[in-house]
């Protein structure tokens, strides 16, 4: 991230990032993940999965904060986020928890 002036606590604040994955054919289209994602990363697909449900599509993959809420609210084990490995300048690779 580029800063005009570096905030004093920039080194302390660590924004986690995640990659969100959907297992289309497990989804039953309840829409809970879409409704509760704090970053509005997801939207319902136009297409159907094998069982005829509208699974979530990933609209804004870069905005996922790896909060796991979609993963824990999903009744069908169909969506999950995995921490991104962030390579920071001058430091070792760091993994978000």
């Amino acid at each position: 991230m580029e800063f005009w002036r570096k905030p004093l606590d920039a080194d302390d604040i660590h924004i986690t990032r995640g990659n969100v994955y959907v297992l289309d054919d497990r989804c039953k289209g309840c829409g809970y993940c879409i409704e509760f994602c704090p970053q509005k990363v997801l939207k319902a697909s136009k297409g159907f999965n094998k069982k005829g449900y509208h699974y979530p599509e990933i609209l804004k993959p870069k905005d996922c904060l790896n909060c796991h809420y979609c993963e824990i609210i999903c009744p069908d084990f169909a969506i999950y986020s995995i921490a991104q490995v962030v390579a920071e300048k001058g430091s070792k690779n760091e993994v978000n928890k």
Binding site: Y21, Y53, E71, I72, I73, C74, P75, D76, F77, I82
Partner: protein, 271 residues
């Protein structure tokens, strides 16, 4: 390559997708239970899940540890036998309100009274979902079900109060939306000795919801707006009423000698 779902190792993947309806909360509560088992770091070969009959009763068939799907209402006696025969096991009973409190109600109160070391998770969907939405011992007064088309004339059990009065040493209630708190509670209960009881309120959109004009997101809105977290609240004062408020939290966390401890002291001590 896409990584695996983090709970895949605890699921019988060949049985997924499960039978629970679209939008049913049981899957979320089951997932909280699996996350709690993971977080507790208990040796999985020592974890057993037992369930009875009903929608929630299918849980035992989806977890990839030793599990048993018992006859209606008999999850607790089966689990009791298992725990007494092999005290090193962590026995989880995952079942519904109909199974645990109607047909199995007697077993529940006696297991709590004897303080058998079990973790009992009750998915409370307020009706008999699997058989078509009949009134249960937990159906709110005036709610519509297939057997009470004009409204339920009976009053429901207050499950945490019943558990406390019967002698449970850990009692909590959460809704499926409080999934992180629910997971923590299950984890705590797993690590505790004695009889633990956790009620998880859950929408049943297909049967209960449809007849009471409650879409799942309306139920969630009610959970969000009406639930009040009151840890340590007196179980006699904990309503679960969409008008007065839904009191959730960890209500009881105490210690008293377990059945096995007392039995060993009286019958197995050398002396």
């Amino acid at each position: 390559m896409q990584p695996d779902h983090p709970l895949n190792d605890l699921l019988r993947k060949d049985r997924i997708p499960h039978i629970w309806c679209s939008g049913c909360g049981i899957g979320t509560i089951f997932s909280a239970c699996l996350n709690a088992i993971k977080a507790s770091e208990i040796d999985l070969s020592k974890v057993v899940m037992v369930s009875g009959i009903g929608c929630s009763g299918r849980g035992a068939g989806y977890i990839n540890v030793d599990s048993f799907h018992t006859t209606h209402g008999r999850a607790i006696p089966f689990a009791t036998g298992m725990k007494l025969a092999n005290p090193s096991l962590h026995v989880i009973v995952f079942s519904g309100d109909g199974d645990l409190f109607a047909i199995g109600g007697n077993h529940f109160i006696h297991a709590a009274r004897r303080n058998i070391e079990l973790t009992v998770i009750c998915v409370n969907n307020l009706n008999y979902g699997m058989t078509g939405g009949q009134a249960a011992a937990t159906t709110p007064n005036r709610a519509k079900t297939t057997t009470t088309p004009l409204g339920n004339p009976e009053s429901p059990f207050n499950l945490p109060l019943l558990a406390y009065a019967s002698g449970a040493t850990y009692v909590a209630r959460w809704t499926m939306l409080h999934t992180r708190d629910l997971t923590n509670s299950i984890k705590e209960a797993l690590q505790k000795k004695g009889f633990s009881f956790i009620e998880a309120l859950c929408p049943c959109p297909v049967n209960y919801g449809r007849r009471n004009k409650l879409r799942p997101l309306d139920v969630f809105k009610a959970y969000q707006q009406k639930s009040i977290v009151k840890n340590g609240a007196n179980p006699i004062e904990i309503d679960a009423d969409s008008d007065k408020g839904i009191i959730v939290g960890k209500f009881i966390d105490t210690e008293r000698p377990t059945y096995t401890e007392m039995y060993n002291k009286i019958y197995r001590s050398k002396g």
